[in-house]
Amino acid sequence: MLVLDSVSKSFGGLHVLQDVNLSVEPGSIYGLIGPNGAGKTTVFNLITGLLQPSGGSITFEGASLLDLPPHQITQRGIARTFQNIRIFKEMTLIENVIVGRHRHFTYGAWSLLTRSGAFRQQEAQARERALELLAWMKLEHKANDLADNLSYGEQRKLELARALATEPKVLLLDEPVAGMNTSEKVDLMTEIENIRQRGYTIFMIEHDMRFVMGLCDRIAVLNFGRIIAEGEPADIRSNPMVIEAYLGKDDDEEVTA
């Protein structure tokens, strides 16, 4: 579905990613793990068009994503959340989610000015869908609050609802549980599993090993810009290279990101 073929990225002389090959299958939860600074977020930035790769190809459902601006990549069905939460703080929850519905509005300038039937119908539909998505995240009772007033965990959930509002086929989650406490993590794990059950494909970056091992169907391990292992959670757990690169020495630093 989403395929990265020998993708590389360098900033000047710094090779952030080298020869990265990944393939995310429809309906699966794919995990990308690796120590801090391994280049994981760069992978997401390349997929979503915020950065262009220095080499290799990225294809989604058979079509290349290279040289497309971010909003067009979103329109093709890829949505993401951010490691450092990027919600629209001065807007209400429901407005945040409706922004995600942007591409589903087709009304033109004229029906906007006249509040035509199409305008009202699409706006009403968007509100309805936004409320539904907020309900998935159990935030519907706060729909008209300002996003700024939410707790950290709730802001992450709002970001997830907003990303879902674009009606993506693939959802990219950049460290969804970073900075969360244990109960919030368990909570979110359930939500993500629920989202998958609804038919979405998920590609996530995560530091929390228990979280990744528990959720993902396949995992790739990135270290110094290279994929050093790829496979099912059980294989990854026992892979000596992975243990050396990541699990063995990084255990105490799990919370850093």
């Binding site: 971010p70 703080k89 922004v99």
Partner: protein, 287 residues
């Protein structure tokens, strides 16, 4: 009705200036609500004023057509200069648009055969009626209100909050910014065209740096969180010099002082719904 007639005779010019200033404040509100600090609105006002006046003055065109051209000309210019400059952000965009404003002023100054140079255009027919201005303000407010509560207005707000996140929500950043910029230019041009046909005379110095700053001040003073803000700001800044008439020479000082106080203590502007709610104790829901 006699008192009204004498009142109108004395103050009509001021009241109509209120209207055109409101349009100007709304014109910069558009770009500000998109998070763009573009200071070209004085220049767009000038382009609109000159374009419309040249038509009525030299070609006896009907006023309606002149107004249309007065809106279309700055829109076109905004589109052309928006392409390269809207990629800039923050202070760099402000610099680029200020520079553009100076270019416009210098061009108006030096194309004497067309614009009359420093002497400006004289004897512009006084077509502008009070209801023209009133209608323009009402239509502008209606359109902006509708835009604000639509996908476009939400895109503006999203871009202002976080451009990257907005683009990943499927918002076409470049196009949305251009929409705000071009619509702002249109409003400024309309204000310029109406104003020119009110004042009989226009000259290049009216549309320079000072004007640009004045327009920005009106919007910032009133607050850009809502449509009411810029209108309130323009009313205050238009009436202030009249109220402070007795201070004569200190007028500008008082003017500046008030601004400093506002920016320090009411950073969201005078018209701040959030502040009103805090004062009047309603809960944190948004209107």
């Amino acid at each position: 009705m006699e008192w009204f007639e004498s009142f109108w005779a004395i103050h009509s010019n001021l009241i109509l200036t209120l209207g055109t200033n409101a349009l100007l404040a709304l014109s910069i509100y558009l770009t500000l609500s998109c998070g763009l600090l573009a200071l070209a609105n004085g220049a767009f006002m000038g382009i609109g004023a000159y374009a419309a006046s040249l038509l009525t003055l030299n070609y006896d065109m009907p006023f309606s057509l002149a107004l249309l051209v007065g809106m279309a000309a700055p829109m076109l210019v905004a589109f052309v200069i928006g392409k390269p400059t809207l990629r800039l952000s923050g202070v760099y965009l402000a610099m680029a648009t200020l520079g553009f404003g100076e270019v416009v002023r210098v061009i108006l100054l030096n194309t004497e055969s067309v614009t009359g140079g420093a002497l400006g255009l004289n004897g512009i027919p006084q077509y502008t009626q009070w209801w023209h201005v009133a209608l323009a303000v009402i239509i502008a407010l209606y359109v902006l209100y509708r835009v604000k509560h639509s996908r476009i207005g939400r895109s503006f707000e999203a871009i202002k909050a976080d451009e990257t996140a907005a683009s990943l929500m499927g918002v076409d950043i470049e196009r949305t910014k251009m929409t705000a910029f071009v619509l702002g230019a249109m409003l400024a041009g309309l204000a310029g065209a109406l104003n020119a046909h009110l004042t009989f005379f226009i000259g290049p110095s009216e549309y320079g740096f000072d004007r640009g700053v004045e327009i920005l001040t009106m919007a910032v003073l009133g607050g850009t969180g809502s449509l009411a803000g810029p209108v309130v700001g323009s009313v205050i800044l238009t009436l202030l010099p009249e109220v402070l008439r007795s201070f004569a020479d200190f007028r500008l000082v008082v003017n500046g002082l008030i601004l400093v106080v506002i920016v320090l203590f009411l950073p969201q502007g005078i018209w701040d719904p959030g502040l009103f709610r805090r004062w009047f104790g309603r809960s944190g829901k948004r209107v």
